[in-house]
Amino acid sequence: MAFDYDKYIRPGKLPHIWCPGCGHGIVMKGLIRAMDTLKLQKENTAIVSGIGCASRLPGYIDCCTLHTAHGRAAAFATGVKLAKPEMNVILCGGDGDGTAIGGNHFIHACRRNIDMTYIIMNNYIYGMTGGQFSPCTPTGHKASTTPYGNPDPGFDIAKLAIGAGATFVARGTAFHANQIDKLIVEAIQHKGFSVVEILDDCPTTYGRRNKYKSVIEMMNRLKEVAVPVKAAEKMTAEQLQGKVLTGVLYKEVKPEYTEEYAKVIERAKASK
């Protein structure tokens, strides 16, 4: 039977603003399926985003949503979670919003291990503002501000999150649509800061400049570069050259921030 996405979408909001072939719609569908699997209540779920193409996502979903300043999704979400620790807080954003302008908020949210889920849609570019290169644009690739090729090496968001202290890090792609909701379900269930990076395609500002002929070519590239973590264990370093690992990359249990903060409040009350 067809999945009923309509009950999670604000009436009259579709069609969405994303370009033809943009993977953000596929990620949004994954998020909706994950919310349905976990039976998340609309009034008990907050989706927070910054600015950018990917950050338009909360506007379409019918639950508590917050569209905030550029890169500040993690800061606002921390406020929501601390005020109402029983809420399920989900953050959405792109690579530019999350790792450049909001890079500082991102690493410190990781460090605190506050119980939230950050879905980063990495399309390697700033799409909405006209295709400027982002910290995730691979070396040599073209953007509107690097017409002769980008000299900078790109960020590995998953490694950055692990290094900063996130306790659950996973990666998927827009091609592997079935996997997205499973990763998001696991991330929401995890107690602590969880990061789900979804490799995405931007046919309009990235694909066009980097000689991708069509959306299908971009999707097939995601299929080719993705290697599941289990399969990668049996592969040599040479075979893994240019590949990206997908699946759950890192998981650990650490004290969670809102619980630790509640203890601080208790201690402060007791000392009076």
Partner: protein
Amino acid sequence: MEKTLPKIEIIEKYCKGCHICVEFCPTKVLEMKGFYASVKNLEACIKCMQCELRCPDFAIKVITE
């Protein structure tokens, strides 16, 4: 036993003509008709739901009994 065919509903108001459903359908049920996707060969449908899963625009519904 007779094979039951699903109903593939394409919402043209939402479709942006990205070709994803047409290309990733394993049995080539769909085609582009002008700007929009449309059903060409419903008999070949195996109800794998790939088109519904992959459509970024919420434009396809595969209704099975």
